[in-house]
């Protein structure tokens, strides 16, 4: 016989141990979350720290004499003539005028390197747009070369690609306020380029946009239709079991396999264009369908049967029950699944490599059939490039990708709220 007091004492003894364990488990959980948050914060800091400078662009101010004799000797104002003028020569001339002390050919070449080769195109565009400028000598802010850009942004850690003489010229320009950082609009309005100072994200961004558009447009209706059929109408037999198992397995298939499938079916068999967002979207649709189907079925399953019964009980048909009650209730869950699928698709690289979306494409795509690349592939390409200046571009592209994702999630949250408000 154990006395009550003994039992109580035994419980007390066990109690402190139990509490200790409770605390341990709680702290482990908290620790895991803190660790995760720490990594996340580290990632953000390193990416933002590396990438924020890409949003700034170093420019050099030069009074460029738009000599009519050099541009349009016969004053035709013919665009064809204007286009063919030697704008690089004009810039070189302006540089020579700015630094008259430089005489040696070798030194001159070093001087010309300070300004980006793209500056000539910018000048051409400016003149084409406004031919009245010909004959004047405007003080133009010309994009600097990427080596100048990097050195100007991080003078301590770089500059090996500039010699002391160049640095001295730049110091002089800087001292006179003729070397400045501007907000980098080119990054947002250019496509890819071999020259880092001219490379922009817009091509990849539009590529991603069109690809996701195709993916969403195909996988959302297909996925929901498949989920509704399987959940509401399909008879329960071996066939549907088999389909179910396969859908679950497809969600775990490596994405590169879908790329191969896309290459074989869409490009080789159907002859669709390579590198096109259409094909990318099709491949990503294949990849995200299982995710969307599984999530949508779970959402349909979670609609309480009492609601179906209520609708059937007042005499709604199965179809009416589905469209009036079940689907609106399942919609937030379906959208969540879709957004997860889209986020996955947005970050996918491997299957797109297979269908040629890894090509170097300068032009910004204007439709789903234009050759394009996508954000993650662009990141991959830039990360592979040897130039130091692409480092910050890579980080900046990651930031753009993350922003895209955040925007998509916000859209999803907004949609959910909107649907939930209706009930």
């Amino acid at each position: 016989m154990t006395k009550r007091s003994d039992i109580r004492a035994a419980v007390e003894r066990g109690l402190s141990r139990r509490r200790r364990r409770d605390r341990l488990v709680r702290r482990l959980g908290l620790g895991a979350i803190l660790l995760g948050l720490g990594f996340l914060a580290f990632m953000f800091f390193s990416i933002i720290g590396m990438g924020y400078s890409a949003f700034w662009q170093t420019r050099i101010q030069l009074p460029v004499e738009l000599d009519p004799a050099a541009i349009d000797p016969e004053r035709t104002h013919d665009p064809a003539v204007l286009r063919n003028a030697d704008y690089a020569g004009l810039i070189k001339q302006a540089l020579r005028k700015r630094f008259p002390q430089i005489k040696k050919r070798k030194e001159k070449r070093k001087l010309y390197q300070l300004v980006s080769s793209g500056a000539a195109y910018a000048l051409q565009a400016m003149v084409l747009q406004n031919p009245a400028l010909i004959g004047s000598t405007p003080g133009l802010w010309l994009t600097a070369n990427d080596d100048v850009d990097v050195w100007f942004k991080h003078p301590e850690t770089s500059g090996k690609r500039l010699n002391d003489q160049q640095k001295a010229w730049l110091e002089e320009l800087h001292a006179k306020g003729e070397l400045k950082k501007f907000f980098n609009l080119d990054f947002f309005r250019n496509g890819d380029s071999r020259e880092p100072e001219q490379a922009g994200i817009l091509g990849a961004l539009m590529g991603s946009f069109y690809t996701i558009l195709v993916t969403l447009g195909l996988s959302l209706p297909l996925g929901i239709a498949a989920a509704v059929y399987l959940e509401e109408f399909a008879p329960k037999n071996r066939w549907t079991d088999f389909i179910e198992v396969n859908i679950n397995n497809l969600a775990a298939v490596p994405s590169i396999v879908f790329g191969l499938l896309g290459l074989a079916v869409f490009i080789n068999f159907f002859g669709l264009p390579r590198s096109a967002p259409l094909v990318g979207g099709l491949v990503l649709t294949l990849m995200t369908l299982p995710t969307i189907i599984i999530a949508s079925r779970a959402a349909l399953k979670s609609v309480p049967p009492s609601i179906r019964e209520a609708a059937l009980g007042v005499g709604a048909s199965r179809m009416q029950t589905l469209f009036h009650h079940v689907l609106p209730l399942a919609m937030p869950g379906m959208l969540t699944g879709t957004i997860i699928g889209m986020a996955q698709a947005l970050g996918e690289t491997a299957p797109l490599l297979m269908i040629g979306m890894v090509a170097f494409i300068v032009d910004v795509p204007r439709g789903i059939l234009d050759p394009a690349t996508v954000l993650p592939v662009q990141i991959h390409l830039w990360a592979d490039s040897p130039e130091r200046a692409f480092l910050e571009k890579t980080a900046a592209a990651i930031m753009v990708l993350l922003a895209f994702l955040v925007l998509m999630n916000l859209a999803a949250i907004w949609l959910r709220r909107k649907f939930e408000k209706r009930w």
């Binding site: 329960k236 009980g313 007042v314 005499g315 009930w423």
Partner: protein
């Protein structure tokens, strides 16, 4: 001789023959709304109901009682073919609603369910506004034309369910925001909005507190004047309080059906007696 088969008569002599026959008065001479004859229900291979025959009197409350799994809910769901939604469920036998066979292939379930409404165990208002909850059925069946007519019908249904005064100020608020008892009365209002002949109630008060239960019971008693009501209940007190006739089910068979007064003072079958007095071991 198994207990189930042994009927006993009031004079004390047990019925000599082994029988599945229902004791009491399954058939009525007065006005009958629903007639069930030899209804058998199967779930796959398993038989859930055995040869149930009963008349449901017009403007009466008939209560089905019995232990869990006795088939009373299954039987109730035969009356509006709610069992159709279960793939493995097969119903054999004849159920007549005003002399029309409801299992006739020509009979469509949609008009049937407009004639035989249902209220469920858990209050299940649609996750929509109170107004929409009531308006859904009439709109579905095209019972009204125009907004004013619909407004009037919503008010009438809610009034009849004794809910109008409580909700008239907040018809736009979600029906799910009401208390449990109010939700159940909303469901009853939703059922009567399509003006059915019969209202089936599957344990309508099992999720409610005693006060809400009393309100719903009072409502059932009032509705009896216009509708025929069949209810399944686990509360024998409730069956005794609101029903005119009580049917006792046991293991898929209708054991006894009679006037409620008789069932609760002097049931004819041993099993009924054992169940109502709480003697199941």
């Amino acid at each position: 001789m198994s207990v189930i088969d042994a009927g006993i008569r009031p004079d004390g002599a047990r019925d000599a023959r082994e029988t599945d026959a229902t004791v009491g008065k399954p058939f009525l001479e007065k006005k009958v709304t629903l007639r069930a004859r030899n209804v058998n229900v199967f779930y796959g291979e398993k038989q859930a109901l055995f040869d149930v025959s009963i008349d449901i009197g017009k403007h009466e409350v008939t209560a089905f009682i019995g232990p869990s799994g006795c088939g009373k809910s299954t039987f109730l769901r035969c009356f509006n073919r709610m069992n159709d939604t279960i793939d493995s469920c097969r119903v054999r036998g004849e159920i007549l609603l005003d002399d029309e066979d409801i299992h006739d292939p020509k009979m469509d379930v949609v008009p049937l369910r407009a004639r035989v409404g249902m209220v469920f165990q858990k209050p299940n208002p649609f996750p929509k506004s109170i107004y929409e909850n009531i308006a859904y059925g009439p709109r579905l069946h095209g019972l009204v034309s125009g907004k004013s007519e619909l407004d009037a019908l919503v008010e009438k249904s809610l009034s009849r369910a004794g809910l109008w005064n409580e909700v008239k100020e907040r018809l736009d608020e979600p029906g799910t925001g009401l208390s449990g008892g109010q939700q159940q009365r909303l469901c009853i209002a939703r059922a009567i909005a399509i003006n059915p002949e019969v209202i089936l109630m599957d344990e309508p008060c099992s999720a409610l507190d005693p006060i809400a239960t009393a309100r719903v019971e009072e409502l059932i008693d009032e509705l009896r004047r216009k509708y025929t009501i069949v209810m399944v209940t686990h509360s024998m007190q409730q069956a005794a309080r609101v029903s005119q006739r009580t049917a006792y089910f046991h293991l898929g068979r209708l054991i006894e059906v009679d006037k409620t007064d008789r069932i609760f003072t002097n049931p004819s079958h041993e099993l009924t007696e054992a169940y109502i007095t709480g003697r199941f071991g």
